[in-house]
């Protein structure tokens, strides 16, 4: 009897610990030391909670590198020119372990203890959502890179800005492309997080208003490892195209299982996945022809004074980090650039002045395109590209004139590949 109760207590403890582990994600590491020398008069310090470890460590690194590249390029140019004087940029990162709760405490800590008054956001909408509540309460501006959830901008906040369009707009370009390729019926599958839900809703609404027949739509729990039964159902509905809005693993799993289940589509498109080099590496030739909704590619014909053209940005990035940049990195650099522009316009690093300058930036032209800053801090007008995996590489196939690069839509069946 005693033994049994001991066992039950143990079981209870195990369950609690497992829950803690699940909530914590995996991997943990103390916050990075603050290396700031913010007191130096000729330095502007900008804080950024970032996902160095945990479930978002992958994208977290891209965002980290995107911010860092801006800092390095600006400092190499002698610093940021503000009111006739050059200031060195000093970015301070602290590891949020991918957890939104940590973003709150880290942002609080950086504002109150480290005296940081300008912020770039952590990665992913939930994390931005959390961090921006603290920035708002201290009246400190934060520019978000890594999440376009509409909910972030619907709270009437005055200190949150973004370099990302709304998640709901991600799929517009993909659907425009499919429309021109004779695709009529589409199946939507999405994960249950904030970003995926909004991207999916926006995509489905766009599809319906543009003459597509949405034959299947379902939400699966993030991290799902088996979607074979959903694919079986979709096959029965004879969908021309599969559009997946979720995470990298799920996009890879959907392509793998589509092949395993011999479910053929004329087109497959994902919001997250194909733009990352790991997608083609993981799937090999099964990745061929898959479309990816992107926010930026090095082929785009835009340029600015800091990085030069999109292609030059890519070269700079590769020189610094050894890999090609994907849109997470580029959009992060763009967010950092917006901060630079605002500081220059404000003529000071005073948080209130920088916020007002951001709100008044209007239409900006950066290496990632031209866009307008909206009163609620979001942006509009950015033209979103689409990429397609061809010979293991992401090739820009949208907008025009890149549509001449489209290959193999409709896709050949698995048996003919």
């Amino acid at each position: 009897m005693v033994r049994k109760s001991v066992k039950l207590t143990g079981l209870f403890m195990a369950v609690s610990l497992l829950l803690v582990a699940a909530l914590a994600g995996c991997g943990s590491q103390g916050a990075k030391q603050n290396t700031s020398n913010a007191s130096a008069a000729d330095t502007i310090t900008i804080g950024a909670p970032d996902a160095a470890t945990g479930a978002l460590a992958n994208e977290g690194k891209l965002v980290h590198d995107g911010y860092t590249l801006w800092q390095d390029v600006v400092n190499k140019q002698g610093g940021l020119l503000v009111g006739g004087k050059r200031y060195k940029i000093n970015l301070v990162f602290k590891d949020d372990q991918s957890k939104p709760d940590n973003d709150k405490s880290l942002t609080e800590q950086m504002i109150t203890q480290d005296g940081i008054k300008l912020f770039l956001s952590p990665y992913a909408s939930p994390n931005i959502f959390a961090a921006s509540t603290v920035a708002e309460s201290h009246k400190v501006p934060m520019i978000a890179a890594g999440g376009g959830a509409k909910k972030i901008f619907e709270r009437g906040y005055k200190y949150i800005f973004s370099s990302y369009p709304y998640s709901g707009e991600y799929l517009g370009s993909v659907l425009d492309l499919l429309k021109g390729r004779g695709i009529k019926t589409v199946a939507f599958l999405h994960a249950d997080d904030l970003f995926s839900q909004e991207a999916d809703q926006g995509g489905e609404a766009y599809a319906k208003s543009h003459g597509f027949d949405v034959v299947y739509s379902a939400q699966y729990p993030s991290g799902a490892t088996d979607l074979s039964s959903q694919l079986t159902q979709i096959a029965q509905k004879k969908a021309d195209a599969l559009i997946g809005t979720g995470h990298f693993e799920e996009a890879v799993q959907l392509v793998k299982q589509a092949k395993q289940m011999n479910v053929n589509f004329k087109a497959m498109a994902f919001t997250v996945g194909p733009t990352m080099p790991a997608f083609a590496q993981n799937l090999g030739k099964d990745a061929e022809g898959v479309l990816g909704a992107s926010l930026w590619t090095p082929d785009l014909p835009y340029k600015d004074d800091v990085f030069g053209t999109a292609a030059q940005y890519a070269a700079l990035y590769k020189q610094s980090f050894g890999t090609e940049p994907d849109y997470h990195a580029a959009m992060a650099s763009a967010a950092a650039e917006m901060m630079g522009l605002a500081i220059q316009k404000a003529g000071s690093a005073d948080p209130q002045k920088v916020r007002d300058a951001l709100a008044g930036l209007g239409t900006v032209h950066l290496f990632d395109g031209s866009f307008t800053i909206e009163p609620n801090g979001s942006i509009k007008g950015l033209v979103l590209p689409v990429i397609q995996i061809q010979n293991g590489k992401a090739v820009t196939v949208w907008p025009a004139p890149f549509d001449k690069n489209i290959k193999d839509i409709p896709l050949p069946p698995w048996s003919k590949r």
Partner: protein
Amino acid sequence: MHLWGQIIVNGILQGGVLGISALAFSLQWGVMDLINLAHGSFQILAAYLALTLLNSLGIDPFLSLPLIFLLFFAAGYLLQLWIINRVISANLFMTLLLTFGMDFVLANLMILLFSADYKSINTGYANASLHLAGIELPVVRLLALLFLIVLSVLLWLFLEYSRTGRAIRATAMERESARLMGIKIPAVYALTFGLGSGLAAVGGVFFGLSNTFSPAAGGPLTVGAFVVTILGGVGTSWGPLAGGLILGLLEAVGSVVFGPTYVNVITFGLLLLVLIIRPTGVLGRAAR
């Protein structure tokens, strides 16, 4: 393609994937009252090892499987002998803390060694399938189920009929009496943990073949093994097979009837139900 036929098959095959991942977890729990929270990370490490052997030496995962099993067996044996045995006779909380810590160390070690990038073991047959009467049978998942059945039978034979197996069972039943009968408990534990680690590695290689993984993927695997073990019942070689099949089928059918978004509700609802109605699991023995 017949819809429901295919969905039942999907569920059974997913049961194989879930079950093979839980085999080791169930064994360690049943014999030693050890809930190994580093179980998932052990599996991911094995997947990385198989991937490294494939990429650098060109060894197919099924050829390297025996080697990986032996390596993990040895590592697990020593780990138990030198580290876990020191706390295992203390209360359960200590071993939970220890394995929880091991999980953190392993997960971060893997980020350092392999980066946080997603990987999968992409062999020529990883996405192949057999077509049988209009039903698709993905090869890797089919093999996972076959391996699970074979390993369950071997484990049962070993525990039931071998001298060492009987020593393990005796230890599981009543540690003190077993010790008085001359069984060396630390050695039995080391052997069990070693065997469990080897089996975890087999599950890990299958996970690597059928899924994408990163160093952070261990956590969900541990939770999955936990659910399967409780459903199937602790302390029986057939628990993981039964638990895996029940869960796989229920998830497949449930995800079609109610929608995939309710899969977790179904899973944990069932878990709760089993804990209330039959705490020993479907096949588990009554508490001794």
